[in-house]
């Protein structure tokens, strides 16, 4: 929950800083001195957005998985490993067992 909050705040802060920069630059162009420096507030805002964004992205990551084969194999079953789906028989009793009883015919 908090990580999504961080991410949205970071995005908004970055967009706000970008917009402020654009406005400041248009102001400088209007005043006739296009090489004026950027106010420090905007710089601090973008650095804050970076830190918040980093925190939000790291916390928002999916849970870590093990890297060993043994740990992956612990989650599998014999039926999954032996299923041989390419050779599976699709004409089974399923048609008779699971067909709806209101079909009226077997």
């Amino acid at each position: 929950m908090i990580e999504k909050l961080f991410l949205t705040l970071a995005t908004l802060a970055l967009l706000h800083a970008a917009y402020s920069t654009y406005e400041h630059l248009s102001l400088l162009k209007a005043l006739g001195k296009p090489e004026g420096s950027l106010p420090l507030n905007i710089v601090y805002e973008s650095i804050l957005a970076l830190i918040l964004g980093l925190l939000g992205a790291s916390l928002n990551a999916p849970p870590l998985k093990d890297i060993t084969w043994a740990s992956e194999m612990k989650k599998r079953t014999i039926d999954g490993m032996d299923s041989r789906l390419g050779f599976a028989h699709y004409k089974s009793r399923g048609k008779f067992l699971f067909a709806s009883p209101h079909d009226g015919k077997i």
């Binding site: 390419g86 050779f87 399923g94």
Partner: protein
């Protein structure tokens, strides 16, 4: 059961290659009714294929036809779609129609793996096991790295009680997937059935090594064997018993019997006791615990 959890379950089943058709059908139907497949983008087609196959398995051919129509509309002239159409044909038409359909496709393109596999499957299902076997041997000669083909070969041999040939097929599987303890377990059990007890006990211990080896933090005494490790310990105990009963044993693979058979037997007994003593999820006693304890306590030979 929400859309998200249904999609996740479908993805898990796809990753683990399980054939849980009824559950897949239930979840897939939910996704289909809520038109959730459109959200998935590229994954939508494999999910639809999964749902189609599960519906055929469960007998709901109406849903299967719906899914197949969606897939076929989007991918005309695709070999994978041809295979699905073939499977749908297998479910209702007589096998000769399906075989003729596959023969036509294989004439045009004789290296079509999926269609060849279906043909072998239909031959096996209709009882022409020898023909299926010949075709399958040709198949694995052509496509050596196809693990499913070797596993199916091992299964056909085992069903005809030719356990040595089955073991040979499984040895190829082990070459192709050396990190998989399930196939080592299958090979160990096949070796046991063909009465090659020293080889079997070696392979059972290999399974234990593979599945229990990453308990590096805990001592062996404190870890409980779970899953196929328990099955492997059962195998060790059975093999130890048979080797002890039969002093002059000849192993067809010329494997020598293990030296400390008594100690191995004791270790297997202790591990099985630990496996069946650990309290289950609700603190209840494992089923069959008394029987296991009684059997494990019988002396060797």
């Amino acid at each position: 059961m929400s859309l998200q959890s249904a999609l996740e379950r479908l993805a898990t089943y796809r990753a683990n290659n399980t054939r849980a058709s009824q559950d897949i059908f239930r979840n897939g139907l939910l996704v289909l009714q809520k038109s959730g497949f459109k959200k998935l983008g590229d994954d939508a087609w494999i999910s639809l294929e999964q749902l189609a196959l599960a519906s055929i398995d469960v007998g709901r051919l109406d849903i299967a036809d719906q899914c197949l129509q969606l897939i076929a509309d989007n991918f005309p002239n695709s070999p994978r779609v041809d295979c699905l159409i073939g499977i749908r044909m297998e479910a209702t038409e007589p096998p000769e129609t399906a075989l003729k359909y596959y023969a036509d496709i294989l004439e045009a393109d004789s290296a079509n793996v999926a269609i060849w596999k279906r043909r072998i499957s239909v031959l096996r299902r209709t009882g022409k096991v020898e023909k299926a076997l010949n075709e399958l041997v040709q198949f694995v000669d052509t496509f050596y790295t196809d693990v499913e083909g070797w596993l199916e070969l091992a299964d056909i041999y085992a069903s005809c009680n030719q356990y040595d040939h089955s073991f040979q097929a499984l040895s190829h599987v082990l070459l192709l997937t050396p990190q998989n303890p399930f196939y080592v377990l299958q090979a160990a059990e096949t070796a046991y059935t063909s009465e090659d007890f020293p080889l079997a006990i070696k392979m059972f211990l290999t399974v234990v090594d593979m599945t229990d080896a990453d308990d590096s933090e805990q001592l062996l005494q404190e870890s409980t064997p779970l899953g196929i490790t328990v099955r492997a310990w059962f195998g060790v105990k059975l093999c130890a018993r048979r080797i002890a009963q039969n002093a002059n044993l000849k192993s067809s693979s010329n494997t020598s019997a293990p030296k400390n058979l008594g100690l191995l037997d004791e270790l297997a007994a202790e591990r099985l006791r630990v496996a069946y003593s650990s309290s289950g999820q609700k603190g209840e006693i494992a089923k069959g615990r008394q029987e296991v304890f009684a059997w494990v306590a019988t002396p060797l030979a």
